[in-house]
Amino acid sequence: MNGHDFSLAGAPLVALGSGALYWPAEGLLCISDLHLGKAERRARLGDGYLPPYETQDTLSRLEDDLRLTEATTVICLGDSFDDRAAADALRDEEKLWIAALQAGRRWVWIEGNHDPGPVELGGTHLAELPLPPLTFRHIAKPGQSGEISGHYHPKTTLRTRGRAITRPAFLIDADRVIMPAYGTYTGGLRSNDRAFAPLMRDEAIAVLTGPVPHAVPLPR
């Protein structure tokens, strides 16, 4: 599989180039910050009228990852919907598509700051999910370990011979993984932002997403 292998709290994991995290021993795929329905929410708020294709684009990439990994458990790590009304406003085809992806799988919606509380779609709704030795939650808590979280949409810039390349990135150290945003309409927070300083150890790495994931020492 096209991914970066590492282990957290003794659990062997794979950071996929798509931005999804795979836990082979559990057949578990984790994705974060899908922000489904972002275009609808922006339109509803009078905040611009974006091309309404981001939900289908995000779902089709997720479908590819599920086909590839044959995962039996899926954890959506929060901010799966741009807000709760956006979840309700998904078009029928999109709701059916999600149901089809859920069929035969354990599916967990972790709540995020954009989508607190349950949505009217199949799957389990949880504030956070402990699966020893790991814990899945939306926003990282300082001092925790074995923690998988999202929320920050980290991205990293790498200066190579002659050019700088910026990609969404996993931030990884001995305590935690902060996942990149998986949704199509998502921006990123630079990994050298102050927000990451209290969370990541000095020896943390960033894994840039893309056709082939690349690991580098976390640029600060």
Binding site: A43, G48, Y53, A89, V216
Partner: protein, 801 residues
């Protein structure tokens, strides 16, 4: 003939002035529906534009707004306010004059809407904003005249189209509105007149006496210009010497970066501490205003500047204009020269300072063109649809409208006179629903139709539309400030891409100061003062102009004419060296040099097609090279050449340059490239799909915003016929892509390609290594590089992957 009222005759006489013939002519034609005046700087052009207004206001009672004056620059509006106040107060005329720009305090703006002055001085963007208010009809009630200053400058960009759309609105509110345009010397006055006219009414053209020939030469220096680079540091002593010998010197640069570097070097060499200032568009307003004030009071001996001073601001006693770097465009050079000497009858004095040896050739070619009165320019295109989309949104802010009325209105504007109803409806549909093939959440659409009239679904959205009025694409500029702990003084702006390349501790130049990058806080670049004398990073971007077709042809003729006697010996020697080591590019064939350098393969293609077309050539060729497995990594273009680097050498260029192959491949490669994305970003912003400014921008920071590239990719994938993609293609073809000049080049070389394999960099290729604006190629080489770099970094950090 309209005679001046006695009051005016006395005022002219008291100053020892006579009314210029063109000023009298403008007075005589005060009732023309549209009138274009073409006059050189210093010809009393502004007064000519205002005389009919002043006479009318002096002789009749008028309530409310009488004349609107539009200038491309805020500073110009402020300047005209000062200049106009003098005759008005000296003649004791009962005329209220006020200016209104983005810098005007909101309390004053509010007052102006409720109780407008007789003469309001403003910019196209501020005018568009004024027309967006629901009380626009009251603000403009009674408006009789509009004067557009420096219309030639506005005509060069979308600002001109936006202005004319705003005027079409005003004309509907005030049917008897008279239009006056004031222009510097241009190559095609009829094109400007077409833009200014309220169609189908005509627009007359009046040409003033052009004045005496300018006194213009190339600055000769003891020091030789360098092989490459744009700083012209070698000329500092000679330029300082000229500053010493003149009262006031304007030192023009083509980019902000060059102006900053030159200014820095000038100060290091300025042992007598001559008062010298810097002025460019990226500087903080307070700093700019300080320089402008000092200049008007005659406190400065020289001012280092960019295009922000191109226009007709009265800088007082300028007696020398220095142009640093090749002028790229003869028309602009002539207009800049006109900045020196405001005496109508004295010749303007100007010096050209080539920044490197290639520019010596270009400057020489430009001098000949000025002497031959051979001005250049590109024909004006049709009015762009992204600007129309913004206009429709602005119209919706001011109240409900009927589509037919608005269509009739916009087709009176020059650029839109031949707009079809279908094209208009496509724009309206985009504004209302997004215009997507997939109709989703229609209940939230932006415009709704009720009883045949279109209106905003949510009136609150007017705020967002108003916050984003304008067509100037200073996109992705970040403010630069001193750290809060050091007072937080604003210094100016830098491009986001430049800011992203900084790491704390890096030093760069802004406003002539060296500052140290400390960090990014809420979209602001925080810096501290640095005591160093040498900035580590000296460059941030600025406008880049393409050398015009006419000037490029003159350069090729000069290279091959055999007579280099007009060139300094060092430059002639350099040309000889190029001829010896390689070959001189000719008009009738395409020279390509191929050589290794620092572990990479390079191909240098001398197309002389101008920067944008050379850029496109780089895109097409690298795409094709990628397909052939030559691993191109990137390219950079100048006005005369494109340099491509990669991992493998180019050995057979023939198939790459067949016009049919180039044209066939155009659509294929067009879709995925960076230039399209850049063009898309500009058009999507203007059309209102994405917002530069949002009320919540400050709070949410970067994470909430995502790159417009994602929208482009999404549309290209799911909605390839979307209006904005059509606009992007049209724009790119005539702007950044400039495919026309590639076709012109291919026809000119007619299959004659001359590939030379050389052992090292050639004299002509060397400058390209120092060019900025390198374009990366997305491809296999990129993954190869990432793998190399990550391995190196991990190894260096003692980590294993």
């Amino acid at each position: 003939m309209t005679t001046l009222p006695p009051l005016f005759i006395d005022w002219f006489a008291a100053r020892g002035w006579h009314i210029h013939p063109h000023q009298q002519a403008m007075l005589d034609r005060a009732d023309a529906p549209a009138q274009l005046l073409i006059a050189p700087t210093g010809g009393g052009k502004t007064l000519a534009g205002f005389l009919p207004t002043l006479v009318d206001l002096a002789t009749t009672d008028h309530d409310g707004l009488h004349t609107l004056y539009i200038s491309p620059l805020k500073a110009l509006a402020a300047d005209i306010k000062r200049n106009l106040t003098t005759p008005v107060s000296e003649m004791g005329l009962p005329i209220r004059i006020d200016d209104r720009t983005g810098d005007t305090p909101s309390s004053r703006k509010k007052r102006q809407r409720a109780d407008p002055p007789h003469i309001l001085l403003t910019t196209p963007e501020s005018l568009a904003l004024l027309t967006s208010y629901e009380d626009a009809h009251r603000t403009f009630a009674g408006l009789k005249r509009v004067v557009i200053d420096e219309i030639h400058a506005l005509a060069e960009s979308k600002r001109g189209d936006q202005l004319m759309l705003a005027l079409s609105r005003l004309q509907a509110l005030c049917p008897n509105l008279r239009r006056v345009g004031l222009s510097a010397t241009v190559e095609d006055p009829a094109a400007i007149a077409r833009l200014l006219a309220c169609h189908p009414d005509p627009c007359d053209i009046l040409q003033a006496d052009p004045g005496p020939e300018p006194d213009i030469a190339m600055l000769t220096t003891e020091e030789r210009p360098p092989w490459a680079g744009g700083g012209a540091a070698y000329a500092i002593p000679a330029v300082l010497d000229q500053v010493r010998r003149h009262r006031t010197t304007l030192i023009f640069h083509n980019t902000r970066a060059q102006a900053e570097i030159f200014f820095h070097n000038l100060w290091l060499a300025n042992e007598e501490s001559l008062p010298i200032g810097i002025h460019h568009g990226s500087l903080d307003r307070v700093q700019r205003e300080r320089v402008e004030a000092a200049m008007q009071q005659g406190l400065l001996r020289a001012i280092v500047c960019t295009g922000s001073l191109d226009l007709g601001i009265d800088w007082g006693d300028v007696d020398l204009v220095i142009q640093v770097g090749a002028p790229k465009n003869v028309k602009r050079l002539v207009q800049r020269i006109g900045r020196a000497n405001h005496n109508y009858n004295a010749p303007s004095k100007a010096l050209l300072v080539p920044a490197n040896r290639f520019e010596v050739v270009e400057c020489q070619a430009a001098l000949q063109a000025v002497r031959d009165h051979d001005l250049d320019g590109e024909p004006r295109g049709r009015g762009p649809q992204d600007v129309l989309c913004q206009h429709i949104l602005i119209r919706a802010c001011s109240g409900p409208f009927s589509a037919s009325d608005l269509y009739a209105e916009v087709t009176t504007a020059g650029g839109y006179a031949d707009l079809t109803r279908d094209e208009f409806d496509a724009c309206l549909n985009f504004c209302a629903t997004g215009g997507y093939a997939l109709r989703a959440y229609d209940q939230w659409q932006r415009l709704k139709q009720t009883d045949g009239l279109w209106h905003l679904r949510d009136p609150r959205s007017a705020r967002l539309i108003r916050m984003n009025i304008g067509t100037i694409q200073d996109t992705d500029l970040l403010k630069v400030r001193m750290q809060r702990s050091r007072g937080g003084k604003p210094l100016g702006e830098v491009e986001e891409a430049f800011a992203a390349s900084l790491t704390p501790g890096d030093t760069f130049l802004i406003g002539g100061e060296i500052v140290r990058y400390e960090g990014l806080r809420e979209m602001t670049v925080e810096v501290s003062r640095d005591r160093g004398r040498q900035p580590k990073i000296a460059v941030f971007g600025g406008t880049k102009f393409a050398t015009s077709t006419q000037l490029s042809q003159r350069i090729l003729s000069l290279l091959n004419g055999g007579d280099w006697s007009s060139l300094p010996a060092h430059t002639a020697d350099w040309l000889r060296l190029q001829a010896e080591m390689s070959r001189l590019p000719k008009s009738g064939e395409l020279l390509i040099e191929s050589f290794p350098h620092e572990g990479r393969e390079h191909a240098c293609i001398y197309g002389f097609a101008g920067r944008n077309a050379q850029q496109t050539l780089g895109l097409i060729l690298t795409k094709r090279m990628e397909e052939l497995g030559l691993h191109p990594l990137g390219f950079v273009s100048t006005d005369y050449a494109t340099l491509i680097w990669g991992l493998d050498p180019l050995t057979d260029p023939g198939p790459l340059f067949e016009l049919s192959a180039l044209r066939d491949g155009l659509d294929r490669w067009l879709a995925g490239n960076q230039l399209m994305k850049r063009t898309f970003r500009a058009s999507a912003t203007i059309a209102g799909l994405i917002q530069r400014n949002t009320p919540s921008a400050k709070k949410s920071g970067r994470q909430a915003t995502f790159s417009s590239d994602i929208l482009y990719d999404t549309l290209a994938k799911y909605d390839p016929d979307h209006l904005l993609l059509q606009i992007t293609r049209t724009e790119a073809m005539r702007g950044l892509i400039d495919f026309g000049r590639i076709e012109e080049m291919i026809t000119r070389i007619d299959g004659r390609i001359d590939l030379l394999r050389l052992p090292r960099v050639t004299p002509f290729a060397a400058p390209l290594f120092l060019e900025h604006g390198r374009m990366p190629v997305e491809g296999a080489a990129q993954e190869r590089l990432l793998a190399e770099e990550t391995e190196r970094l991990m190894a260096a950090a003692g980590l294993s992957t």
